[in-house]
């Protein structure tokens, strides 16, 4: 009896002495790329732990798979590029974009066999171009063809996974392929001196942190804590890029140091919701619709983009024009 009382008293003291708030658990479905590694950096820097978050990560090679887990309810939030987000939003109006995580103009590029004679976008007419359908490679392709003045129907688009496009280039079955890092780096390595790259700053790719509307309504505090943790990771990245690279190094063992450094040079991590994003989403929506890649009712971009939480955490990061109550 006395021992039980002593144990109960110690437990009570321990409970009373433990002043830390209870930890919140969130499941994050992410894309395993250096460009989308900001959550990795924030976790490795202790930013989520400081916010009382236990972040469980489920990693995927493609964004659409991460979004699929989110739509199934297996994740609370997901990270994906804007193209698969737009496609998922066509099929599911529950999706809400809380913030952009990175922007890049050089991450996705046209890798060309130099021996194919392609000198620029304008030479793509009649060429065989590999790309993964339903991805941002679609948008890049559309933009490249517009910049080159080449009608889409004059180009032979070969749909396939990035690995298939790499093999195709190496075998000479493809003249060019639209690839993103690390696949683009791998293709360049495989082609060696025969590799040539064409890219444009008019192309912007953005990765987004997306959730469902029910999660947004039920767990705003947890989502705010996630955003604060990501803002903390952004500050660490800006303050020490070398240190940031070192913290995520172990997550990409297949990538050499130089390659990882090269990929991160093409990426700018940062939270934000701005008019460039809206412009990209709008033009991408129009392009994908014109290409037949999107069918059905176009998603309401004002419903898809949800700036309220980011405005509470980092108000200067929200640059959308006010005046419209839905922003």
């Amino acid at each position: 009896m006395r021992v039980a009382s002593l144990i109960a008293a110690m437990a009570l003291l321990a409970a009373c002495g433990d002043r830390r708030p209870p930890r919140t658990r969130l499941v994050l479905a992410s894309v395993r790329q250096p460009a989308t590694a900001l959550p990795l950096l924030a976790a490795a820097s202790g930013c989520f732990a400081a916010e009382g978050l236990d972040l469980e990560e489920r990693s995927f090679d493609l964004g659409r798979d991460a979004l699929a887990l989110l739509r199934e309810g297996g994740a609370d939030v997901a990270v994906a590029f804007e193209t698969p987000v737009l496609q998922a939003a066509y099929a599911d109006d529950r999706l809400r974009a809380l913030t952009a995580l990175h922007t890049s103009t050089r991450n996705t590029r046209l890798v060309v066999r130099a021996s194919s004679g392609i000198r620029g976008f304008y030479d793509l007419g009649g060429r065989r171009i590999g790309l993964a359908p339903g991805t941002n490679a679609d948008f890049f392709t559309d933009l490249a063809l517009r910049l080159g003045g080449v009608p889409r129907d004059l180009v032979r688009l070969v749909h396939g996974a990035p690995a298939e496009s790499i093999e195709g280039l190496a075998a000479g079955a493809l003249d060019a392929a639209v690839l993103s890092d690390p696949a683009a780096q791998e293709a360049e390595r495989r082609l060696g001196d025969d590799a040539q790259v064409f890219q444009t700053d008019l192309y912007v790719e953005i990765s987004l942190l997306v959730t469902r509307d029910d999660v947004l309504a039920a767990r705003p505090a947890a989502l705010r804590a996630l955003l604060r943790g990501l803002a903390c990771g952004e500050r660490r990245a800006r303050a020490d890029r070398e240190g940031a690279r070192a913290r995520i190094r172990d997550r990409f063992p297949e990538t050499g140091d130089a390659a990882l450094a090269g990929q991160l040079e093409r990426v700018r991590w940062g939270l934000g919701l701005d008019n460039v994003l809206v412009d990209v989403l709008r033009r991408e929506r129009d392009a994908l619709t014109a290409a037949g890649a999107l069918r059905g009712d176009a998603p309401d971009l004002h419903q898809l983009v949800a700036p309220a939480l980011l405005e509470q955490v980092a108000p200067e990061s929200v640059m959308l024009l006010p005046g419209d109550a839905r922003w």
Partner: protein, 633 residues
């Protein structure tokens, strides 16, 4: 002194300083915030204006670029140049602004896109004359760049517009904070005022209430009572100390009054005893006189007893009156040049029989020559007599009383030494106070009110002298020493007294006016026995009627008459009879002012009751003042 005001001043000053500091800080903070907000608002307005202007200029430029295929060149060149220049100017204005970090990042991207557009613009102008697909491709690229640049300008505007919203929200929050602070300041102010009031109550009101309660207790005669707070260094402390001193004096005064009351009661008891003592033998003597079988010797002794006892009563009354007059400063000395040795010798002889009766030896030691002084002989005799009477009272039979008089240092020194009961040291300083007697038992057996030495001191001091009592202690006898100032030179021989005025001798017609029938009849018998023709009236109208019916030579009139006072009778008689009538006031009102009033009313003389028979006879025999004045002239 630390005043209550100063004690309250410190917390009041502190609270006022805190309040002023808070208000000053609030005012400074509000002003600072207002300046900051105003500066931010100006920056926001400027940036937004420039961003919108750039957007407008960009649209204008794009419109001219996109209209190139359909319009002849030349016209648009000018418009494009103007648009480009305007855009460049606006960009310089934006770059002059202090841009936040986020906006600076967006602006750098916009500048890069704008540079690419400028290069594309040159290409467009170059291929424009040719037209066709190259121009269309270039214009398509231009559109794509415009999408980007427009989005970037929207980012700039969006940032600042949202910043403006945050400013508004901040202003609202600050206004709410200011309201809360004001409300809190009001509450704090009220609490501070309440605290100050309590402090003031503790510092001022409570002590005053305590003083008031103590005063009420004093009013209910609950002495002694002291108030707390006398140790305080402020006004309350001063008031408390003054109050306690006042109560201390009240206690002392109360004690003195109680003592005086006790001594008054004791005196009244003694007075009653002293007055009753002579009345007993007087009554016995009167009874004897009324007895038809009384022998002449008995009758003579009875008359002597009555005379002595009346004298004793008279002395008691005179002593009481003298003590009162001395205390009030009303006694008048009739100074004349006298020989103190002669007065001492005469007075000693007057008391020799008294001392002999008590088997007390009396020795008189006088200087060979006179001791001239300007003094009242009657009062000096009274002083020496009181000393001898006292010495005889407190010396047992077989003892000795010695009277010495001599001159020393310009002063006459008169000593009365006895071998009597002596005085304890603590009594020596009080022996000259009224009603104080040494040995009560002996004093009571010898009689007296204890006024003698008090009279001695008063009279001696009126003469400018001193009196001192000395004694080696109980049973060692006493010595009373008087010093009086001597006159500077020998007196001028006095003129021989004038002969008695003519017409003053012989029987006279006397009218006695007194409402006391016994007093009037006994006085009338006395005067008839002296050979005078006497009439009696018992009131003023009766006196006037009697005086008209049988005009008298002398009127002896009491003052206190019913209806018409003696003064009015005197005035009436003086009007009717003029100065030839001798008017003598005979009254128990014998104060100096009573004498003055009598003389003013027309009386020629004033005799104090009970008058001595010889005084009455001399007064009746004297001529009126008007007649004396005529004789003196």
């Amino acid at each position: 002194m630390v005043t209550v005001g100063r004690r309250l001043l410190v917390p009041t000053t502190v609270l006022a300083a805190v309040a002023c500091a808070a208000l000053a800080y609030a005012a400074w903070s509000s002003a600072h915030q207002a300046r900051t907000l105003e500066r931010d608002a100006r920056a926001v307005r400027t940036a937004i204006s420039l961003a919108f202007a750039l957007g407008d200029a960009t649209h204008e430029e794009e419109r001219w670029f996109l209209s190139l295929p359909r319009s002849p060149a030349g016209v648009h060149e000018t418009r494009l140049d103007e648009a480009g220049a305007r855009i460049a100017g606006l960009m310089r204005d934006v770059e002059a602004l202090p841009l936040p970090a986020r906006v600076a990042d967006v602006w750098r991207e916009y500048v890069a896109v704008r540079a690419a557009q400028d290069a594309l613009g040159d290409e467009i102008r170059r291929v424009a004359p040719e037209g066709g697909p190259p121009l269309e491709r270039a214009l398509d690229r231009w559109r794509l760049m415009s999408f980007r640049s427009e989005a970037l300008l929207k980012d700039v505007s969006g940032y600042y517009l949202r910043f403006l919203d945050r400013i508004v929200v901040e202003l609202q929050a600050r206004r709410a904070r200011a309201l809360w602070i004001s409300a809190a300041a009001v509450v704090v102010g009220l609490l501070a005022a309440a605290a100050l009031s309590l402090l003031a109550a503790r510092a001022v009101v409570r002590p005053l209430e305590a003083i008031a309660r103590t005063a009420e207790r004093i009013a209910e005669t609950s002495l002694p009572a002291e108030v707390a707070g006398a140790e305080r260094p402020d006004e309350i402390g001063t008031l408390s100390r003054a109050f306690n001193r006042m109560t201390g004096r009240l206690v002392s005064a109360n004690a003195r009054l109680t003592e005086i009351d006790r001594r008054k009661d004791e005196f009244l008891g003694m007075l009653s005893h002293e007055l009753r003592n002579p009345l007993a033998p007087i009554r016995s003597a009167l009874h004897l006189l009324s007895h038809p079988a009384a022998r002449p010797a008995q009758t003579r002794r009875a008359l002597e007893v009555i005379g002595r006892q009346v004298d004793h009563l008279t002395r008691i009354v005179d002593d009481l009156l003298d003590v009162t007059r001395i205390a009030r400063g009303k006694i008048e000395l009739r100074r004349e040049r006298i020989d103190l040795s002669e007065v001492v010798a005469r007075t000693a002889e007057d008391y020799r029989d008294l001392l002999d009766d008590r088997r007390i030896a009396l020795e008189v030691e006088l200087p060979g020559g006179p001791l001239w002084a300007d003094a009242d002989p009657t009062r000096v005799a009274q002083v020496v007599g009181n000393l001898l009477s006292n010495a005889g009272k407190f010396t047992p039979p077989g003892g000795r009383v010695t009277v010495r008089a001599d001159a020393r240092g310009g002063r006459a020194v008169i000593r009365v030494v006895d071998t009597g009961v002596g005085m304890p040291p603590e009594l020596l300083g009080r022996i000259f106070e009224p009603f104080v007697q040494a040995d009560r038992s002996l004093a009571r057996s010898a009689g007296g009110l204890g006024l003698g030495l008090s009279l001695v001191k008063g009279i001696v001091e009126l003469h400018g002298g001193t009196v001192e009592a000395r004694s080696a202690g109980p049973g060692a006898g006493s010595e009373l020493v008087i010093e009086l100032p001597l006159a500077a030179e020998e007196p001028v021989p006095l003129a021989a007294p004038s002969a008695a005025p003519a017409g003053a001798a012989g029987p006279r017609r006397v009218l006695i006016v007194d409402d006391n029938v016994d007093a009037a009849e006994t006085l009338a018998e006395l005067l008839r026995h002296a050979g005078h023709e006497v009439a009696v009236a018992h009131d003023g109208p009766g006196a006037l009627a009697a005086a008209r019916a049988d005009p008298p030579d002398v009127v002896l009139c009491d003052i206190g008459l019913p209806g018409m006072s003696g003064y009015e009778v005197a005035r009436a008689l003086r009007r009717e009879r003029g100065p030839g009538l001798l008017l003598v006031a005979v009254s128990g009102y014998a104060q100096p002012e009573d004498v003055d009033a009598a003389l003013e009313a027309g009386f020629d003389r004033h005799l104090a009751k009970p008058p001595r028979p010889d005084e009455v006879e001399r007064a009746v025999a004297a001529p009126p003042a008007g007649v004396r004045a005529g004789l003196d002239a």
